[in-house]
Structures are given as C-alpha cells and as structure tokens.
C-alpha cells in the first residue's frame, strides 16, 4: 500500500506510543479477514435459501452463525484490549546481521490466546495466562549503520474464529544501533600487520609492554585480563597490568588506515575493533574530531563501534 508521505506521517504520529502502555480502543483496529469475507457471502447464500424455502430452522441457524461471527469480533477485540506492553529493547547489531528486539508483554485481566507480533518481516506468536508476563524475542533485519528506529510493531490476533483480525499498530520509542559492517580480517594478516605497526601500514599504533603486576579489577578491563591467580585469594578480582611486551595497547587511527573509500574505512576500523576485542587487547580509537581513550571490554567495544556507527554519511 503506497500512501503519500505526509499521510503516512500523520498515521505514524497517531501510532506513536510511550512505554509502558496498555492497548485500548484508540489503538485497536478490527476488520474481517479474507476468510471472514468468504464466510459472510456464505451466510448470505444461506439466508437467501432460507427465505426462498421459508424454512425457519434454516433462518435460525443462519442467524445463529451470523451472531456467532459478529460476537467473535468482540472476542477478538477482548483478546487484544488491555494487553500491556511494558518494555521494549533493541540490542545493537552489526550491519547485515539481525538485531534482537526484546518486548515484554503482560496479560492484564484476562488470559490471551495466540497473539502475533510482527516487526518488518519478523513475526512470532505467543499466548499468556491471566496476569502472566512474557518476553518475546524478534529479529529485525539491518541494512545500514547508524541509529535503528524500530518502526511499526503490529500486535494482532485472529482468535477465536479467524473471521476477524484485531490489530494494534504501535510506533514505540525504541531505537537501536547498527554498528558498521565489520570487514573480515584474516587472522594471519592481523598478526603479520602488528609487526610493522610502526610503519603505519594499517594505522596500528602498537606499544609493547611487560607484565607489571596486578591492580584491582575495573569493569572495562575485560575477562582476558583478570589475574585468576591473584583473585583466588578471595580479596576481590584483580587485573593483570602490563608495562610492555605481553599485551599491547593499540590505537586505531582514522587517518592511518589504508582503505579505498569512506565506508570501507569505517568497516575496516569496525573490523579492527571487533578483532581487538576478541583478542582481549587494550585498544583505542582516533576519529576526526573524536578520540576514544584505550581500554578494553564490552563497554569499550560498544563505545568505539557506536562512534563509528554514528559517523556522518560521506559528503
């Protein structure tokens, strides 16, 4: 369905919703399904037959089936109304991978049977007992780096008879982040390049260090730096500290990376960050107008990848 952009915007604005929310009549739409339309024609044929044969039992059955189908619309509405959408979270993902969307639902008041949630092309179904809560994971496709607005989430149900579909389109204030697509680096290359880092081939600034003792663990240290021996004494975690040699601190520099294009440069840096994080190294990032001090751990990786993801588009 192609609508002019401004109409789409108006519709989307209506669907904007803050979490947590409960689905109510302002947000729920209901229409017959295709099966429902077929059934309506079928009922009409039955009604005509009943009129023609002036058969009262046929009248009664036709009206009974008609009433059942109309009431099934109310049942479908009730299955959706009052459903609580309590929280939503979109986890970061590399471009091209699926981002994980986590939504948390709660059945308020009544049990819910077979609700379906669709985001883009991802779809999943669930049921809830009275008062029960449940989180649902959906996988959202990514196509470009940068912020990932969630777009429209559609919660729908065809329960109980499949003749009506009640649905609620929501635009939730959930934004994810798509990291740049990391350029795959060959492991061997990576080792090899480290050696002539000073020559700036890949823009790797390497510093050798030696094991210098232990200090109290800081979250950004990463598990690979935990000194298990020191920590085993029971006085908390300790990290190994390097002066030079054993671990290196790397700073990936925007200007020193040799790449053919703007996006490729970003991808290469993202690949380096990912690889450095995998190796448990201490690394930093130097971008135009932004320097991220060396560190390690998931937080450091996220900081670096976020900075890369949010770089402006090439001019």
């Amino acid at each position: 369905m192609v609508l002019p952009r401004f109409i789409r915007n108006v519709i989307l604005a209506r669907q904007r919703a803050d979490l947590p929310l409960r689905l109510n009549r302002r947000r729920i739409y209901i229409l017959p399904t295709r099966a429902g339309t077929v059934f309506a024609f079928f009922l009409l044929a039955m009604l005509v037959a009943a009129i023609n044969y002036t058969n009262n039992l046929a009248f009664l059955l036709t009206f009974l089936l008609g009433s059942i189908s109309i009431l099934s619309a109310i049942h479908a509405y009730a299955n959706l109304a009052g459903l609580g959408v309590e929280a939503g979270r979109l986890f970061p993902a590399y471009c091209g991978d699926d981002a994980r969307l986590q939504l948390f639902f709660r059945a308020k008041g009544r049990e819910r049977r077979r609700l379906s949630v669709r985001v883009g092309t991802a779809e999943d179904e669930f049921s809830l007992a009275v008062g029960a809560g449940r989180e649902l994971d959906l996988h959202v496709t990514t196509s470009r780096r940068g912020p990932l607005p969630l777009g429209q989430v559609v919660i729908s149900t065809r329960y109980p008879l499949g003749l009506f579909r009640a649905w609620s389109p929501l635009v939730l204030p959930v934004t994810g982040l798509v990291y740049p697509k990391p350029l795959a680096l060959d492991r061997m290359d990576w080792r090899h390049l480290q050696g002539d880092g000073d020559e700036g081939g890949l823009g790797v600034v390497s510093q050798s260090g030696e094991f210098g003792g232990v200090r109290p663990y800081r979250p950004e240290d990463g598990l690979s730096r935990v000194s298990w021996k020191a920590s085993s004494r029971g006085a908390g975690l300790f990290s190994k500290e390097f002066r030079s040699g054993v671990a290196r601190t790397l700073v990936f520099d925007w200007d020193d990376v040799r790449a053919s294009g703007y996006e490729e440069r970003i991808s290469l840096l993202a690949g380096l960050v990912r690889e450095a994080e995998r190796e448990g190294l201490c690394y930093g990032l130097r971008l135009p107008g932004l320097i991220i001090a060396p560190g390690s751990g998931a937080g450091q990786a996220h900081r670096c990848l976020e900075a890369l993801a949010l770089l402006p588009e090439a001019a």
């Binding site: 099966a35 009206f63 009730a78 329960y159």
Partner: protein, 645 residues
C-alpha cells in the same frame, strides 16, 4: 508440526459430527469414500503418507461427480446435492495441508449442518444441529488458539454459542418474512407421508388404524369439546362405483364470511402436518376460510396449494348445518346392478313408505341388532361387497358401515354422501391441546333430510366406545390378551413421556418452525404497528436497536471483565497504592522492587515513611512469604488512601 496434526484430527472430528446424520441418507459408496478419504488424510498427517498428486485428485473428483450423476440421473435435487457435498468433504480433507484448508473444511462442515434442515426439523435433530454447530465452532477456535487446549476451546465455542443465542432469536423474530418463495422450489418430500387417499374402499381407513403418526394438532382457546362430537371433515365423496366411493361432482366455492361469525361458533387453531394434498381438516362444520384456503359448497376446506409443510390455521366451526338446496339426482345415483339383496331391502323400506328419518333409524337398528361386529380385519370381499357385508360377514370397519348405509339410503332414493376425515383425538394434558393421529381416521355419512345435510355415524351404534376411547380399544394387543399389572404401569409411564415429548415437539413446531409471515404480522400488530402502512415502525426500530445494543454491550462487558482472583486482588491493591504515590511524584520505577521503593520514599518523604513501610511489609508478607491476611492488607491500603494529606 505436532499442533497441526492435532488440529487436523479435531477438524475431522467436528466434520464427522456434522456429517453423521447424513450417513444413512447418502448412497453406500459415498459413505465409504468419505471415511476412506478421511482415513487417508489422517495417515498423511500422522504417518507421512504422500499427498495424492493433482491428476489423481482430479480423476477422483471427476469419478465422484460421474457416480453421483449416474446414481441420481437428471433429477439433480436435494439428495444428489448432499451426496456431492459429502464427496467434497472427503476430497477436500485429502488435499488439506494448511490452516486455510482446515478453515475451508470447517466452513463446509457448517454448511453440512445446515443442509440437515432439508431432511428433518424435529426437536431432536435441531438439538443435534445446535450441538454440531458448537462442535464446529470449537474446532474453529482450536484452529486459532495457539497451544492446543481442547477443553478451553470447547468452552469458548460454547460461550460464543450461548452469547449468540439471544441475538439470533431477536433476528429470528424480527427479520421480515416473505410470503412464498423467491423462485420455484422443487420439493422432494413426497415419499413416506401417510394419510388416507382421495377415495374410500374397504380397508382404506382400517390400514391407518395402527399408525400413531400425528395428522394434526388442535388448540382450543376454551374447553375442548366432548370427544364424541369431534368430527374432523376431510372431504366429501359423492359417487359410488360398486366398490369405491369417490368424488366426481362439481362443487361451488362459498364466499368466506369472516366478518359475520355466527354466535354459536367454536374457534380453534389447527396445525396440520404436511400430507402433500390440498385438503384441510376442519371441525364439523367450518364457516371460515382462513388465508390461503377456500370453502367449498360441500362444507369442506381446501388449501390453495399442496400442504407441503406444517401449516397453522385459525378456524371456526358451527354445530348446526345450514339449509341447503335440494340435491340433484346425482346424489342418489348408484351403479347398475350388483348387491341385489341390499337393493331389495331398500325397496322394502321405500314400499313401506318410510320417511328418510325412519329409514336412517331402520338402518341403524339393523346395525345394532343384526349381530354386526366392529372389526379391524373384516376379510376381503370381491363382488357385491355391500351384500356380503350386510348379509354374510357382518364384520366391518367404519368404511364398511358408512358405505353400506349410504348404499341402502341411495337405493331407497334418499340423497346421501360419504364424509371421510378424523374422529376424536387425544388430549395432551401437558400442552392443553388435542392430538389427532392417523389412527383416528374415520368415515361417516351425511343424509339430506328436512333441507339440511345431517351427520349420521353408523359406526357409533355398533361400537359406541369407538367414539369415547378411540380406536385403540379395538386394536388387538398381541397374544397375551390382558396385560399384567406391571406392564400396565409401564405403559402408563411410557404414555406420560410420550405425551410430554409430543408437547415439547408441539411447542417447537408452533413457536419456531411455524413462525410464518402471518404470525409475524400479527406480532407486529400486537406491538402497535400497522403492517401495511408501517406506522409505528420507527418506534419498534428504536426499541430493537436498543435491545441489540444491550446484548452487544453485555457481551462486551462480560468479555472485557477482568478476572481478579484472590491473588490478583493483592496486586490490584498494590497497584492502587503505587498510583496514589505516583500522584505525589513518587512513581515506582519499572525495575524497583517494593523494598527499594519503600526505602527511597522513606528518604524522599520521611513523613510518609511509617505508613508506606507498613503497607509494603504487609505486601511482601503476602506475596513472598505466603503469610499475612489480604483483609489486613486491604485495610492498610484503604487507610493509606484515606489519610490526611
């Protein structure tokens, strides 16, 4: 998917329930095919049997169609349609894979349920149809309900049905009915309708004497008249060919005098079972022709159309016949020759100069004192049947007596005619109405005396109890003769249930099946609407709309009602408590547990700390320790809500 297998089985089960009543009606090959196809379809689901290729399915479909056409020939009607529909049920099941296919199957199942009305509309069948609608609805729910929880789906199906009933009833009562069909209806309901024929010959009434089938039911607004005065006229036979009485003379139509109902008339309502003839039975003598019927000059009623479905008539009767003109010679005509002894007897009467009244008395005296016996099995006669009966066997049923008496009187030159119809009826104390059965079929004569046709029932002098207790006292009861007392009591109980059942059926027929265009009109008139001008219809529409809104609103209310259990009452109170605090700017964080929440409030608003602490402690005790009293918790929350700000 395991769920799909289960869904498919449930779909087939619903289908089988819907199809079951048709099983004895379709040809054997159709039934066998349907069950084989369903068996194979189950094998596809559970054993992974291959889906038959498209060409095979096409061949099967064409073969089925050909077989049906071969079986039914060109008369493609109800039976052929149902057979074809049944074959479709089998074929569609074999190609069903997706949920959408199952949906189509269940729609077909609804359709199959509805086709039952073409065969049977009895109370039992209707109840079964409602049951199958519920089953199919539950199967539809099962198809759309996520995890298979059959019991809960069944309950939902039942709930839908129960909620839909009042709505359906309103539509049923107020949906405008037309008079007659939209287009021609070919009706196949000819077979198996019992009732007497258009002629009277020895054995034609006796053959009905064992049939307990209902001919019609009668509702008297007042007291039911005495049983021996209940003569239901069917048709008047005017000619005799030596064996059979039949109708040959032309008759006039009497203009209906609905406006001038005589003072001494008895009004009643008669509901006739279909008999595929045009005659309408009416209490002796009808004076009114209700809509759709005509009154003939021989004082019988006839419907303008064949009575193919149950019809309800409002009728009135008068006791005394009116004056009628002198009948022509045709009313004394007899065939040439035959029955010489009877003719001789009649000539004797005539020569003795007896008046018609005296002749009637003489004939009745002959029957009463001549050793005549009332019998259901008088034996067959081939020629001179009147002579044989009067002077040899002296064994006969009502048709013998009427036929003989009419013959004697005609031979003596008195105009006489034979009337066939029903006599008596059984009162149903539970419904306060009269049931007239085929076994009440009767024949009597009418003699033209003193300018009127007067009823004479020769059977009444031979077997007077026939008029009081009905024909049953003459029906032989097996070899045992008198039944033992226990069996008598059992018979009484059986009788009681039979009558109760008939009352239930009668109400069903009257109020549901018999609700017609005319009765809808009279309902509208009673509601203050003029059906022709439509005045007052607006008011009714308003009331109807309000009624529908109330029903729909009620269902809305029921469906949107929250189900708070004991446990949820606590959650509900805690929610109220949190909302109250939120109003004070102390909203609970999503991830904030009760203890942390209380601690934070204690720091931010020390003056609330004490009250909040006690509520939260009670909450924690109830929720996490399984201790504490919900009533105490409720009191604490109420106190907190009602505190002095």
């Amino acid at each position: 998917m395991i769920h799909d297998k289960r869904r498919f089985s449930v779909t087939l089960l619903a289908l089988a329930l819907a199809f079951a009543p048709h099983l004895p009606r379709v040809p054997v090959f159709v039934g066998v095919f349907v069950f084989l196809a369903w068996g194979y379809a189950l094998g596809m689901q559970y054993r992974g049997w291959p889906v038959p290729p498209r060409w095979l399915r096409a061949i099967l479909a064409l073969t089925c169609l050909a077989l049906v056409l071969f079986t039914y020939g060109r008369s493609f009607g109800r039976d052929a349609g149902v057979a074809l529909l049944s074959l479709m049920l089998g074929l569609k099941a074999v190609e069903s894979k997706s949920v959408r296919d199952m949906l189509a199957l269940l729609f077909l199942a609804y359709f199959v349920v509805v086709t039952n009305v073409l065969y049977s509309q009895t109370l039992v069948m209707s109840a079964y149809m409602f049951f199958s609608v519920m089953a199919v609805t539950a199967a539809l729910v099962h198809l759309h309900s996520g995890e298979p929880r059959l019991l809960s789906d069944l309950r939902r199906g039942g709930l839908l049905l129960v909620q839909a009933l009042p709505l359906a009833l309103i539509l049923f009562v107020f949906f405008p009915r037309l008079q007659g069909a939209l287009w021609g209806v070919h009706d196949e309901r000819d077979e198996g309708v019992s009732g007497f024929s258009e002629t009277l010959e020895p054995g034609s009434v006796a053959s009905l004497s064992l049939s307990r089938e209902v001919a019609f039911r009668v509702d008297f607004p007042g007291v039911i008249p005495d049983r021996d005065s209940l003569y239901w006229r069917g048709l008047v036979l005017d000619s005799f060919d030596g064996l059979t009485w039949f109708r040959a003379l032309p008759f006039d139509l009497v203009p209906s005098r609905a406006d001038a109902l005589p003072a001494q008339s008895v009004s009643y309502t008669l509901t006739m079972e279909p008999h595929n003839r045009e005659w309408v039975f009416a209490l002796d003598l009808p004076v009114l022709a209700p809509r759709g019927t005509v009154l003939r000059s021989d004082q019988t009623l006839a419907s303008l159309r064949m009575v193919r479905s149950r019809v309800r008539y409002d009728l009135a009767a008068v006791q005394a016949p009116g004056l009628s003109p002198v009948p022509g010679p045709a009313w004394t005509a007899l065939p040439e020759g035959g029955n010489p002894k009877a003719r001789a007897l009649a000539a004797e009467w005539k020569d003795a100069g007896l008046s018609p009244g005296e002749m009637v008395a003489a004939a009745l005296k002959l029957f009463r004192e001549g050793g005549f016996v009332y019998s259901l099995r008088p034996g067959a006669a081939d020629k001179d049947i009147v002579d044989q009966f009067l002077f040899a066997t002296r064994l006969g049923y009502c048709e013998h007596y009427s036929s003989a008496m009419a013959f004697l009187l005609r031979a003596a030159g008195v105009p006489v005619r034979v009337v066939v119809g029903y006599q008596g009826g059984e009162e149903n104390p539970m419904g306060g109405y009269l049931i007239v059965r085929q076994s009440d079929a009767h024949a009597w004569v009418e003699v033209w005396m003193d300018g009127r046709w007067l009823r004479v029932d020769p059977t009444s002098v031979v077997a007077p109890q026939r008029l009081v207790t009905g024909v049953e006292s003459f029906v032989p009861q097996g070899q045992g003769g008198v039944l033992p007392e226990g069996a008598q009591a059992l018979r009484k109980v059986g009788r009681f249930f039979q009558l109760g059942w008939d009352a239930a059926n009668n109400s069903w027929n009257q109020w549901v099946l018999g609700f017609s265009h005319d009765r809808q009109r009279s309902l509208w008139e009673r509601l203050g609407i003029d059906p022709t001008t439509g005045a007052g219809a607006g008011k009714l529409a308003g009331v109807l709309a309000a009624g529908l809104c109330i029903i729909l609103g009620g269902v809305f209310g029921v469906m949107l009602r929250s189900r708070h259990g004991e446990r949820d009452q606590v959650a509900f109170l805690y929610g109220r408590f949190c909302r109250e605090l939120a109003k004070l700017g102390l909203a609970r964080g999503l991830s904030e547990g009760p203890r942390d929440y209380a601690r934070r409030i204690g720091m931010q608003r020390p003056e609330l700390a004490q009250a909040v602490r006690s509520v939260v402690d009670a909450y924690i005790a109830l929720r996490y320790d399984g201790a504490g009293d919900p009533a105490v918790f409720k009191r604490l929350v109420d106190e907190f809500m009602g505190r002095k700000m």
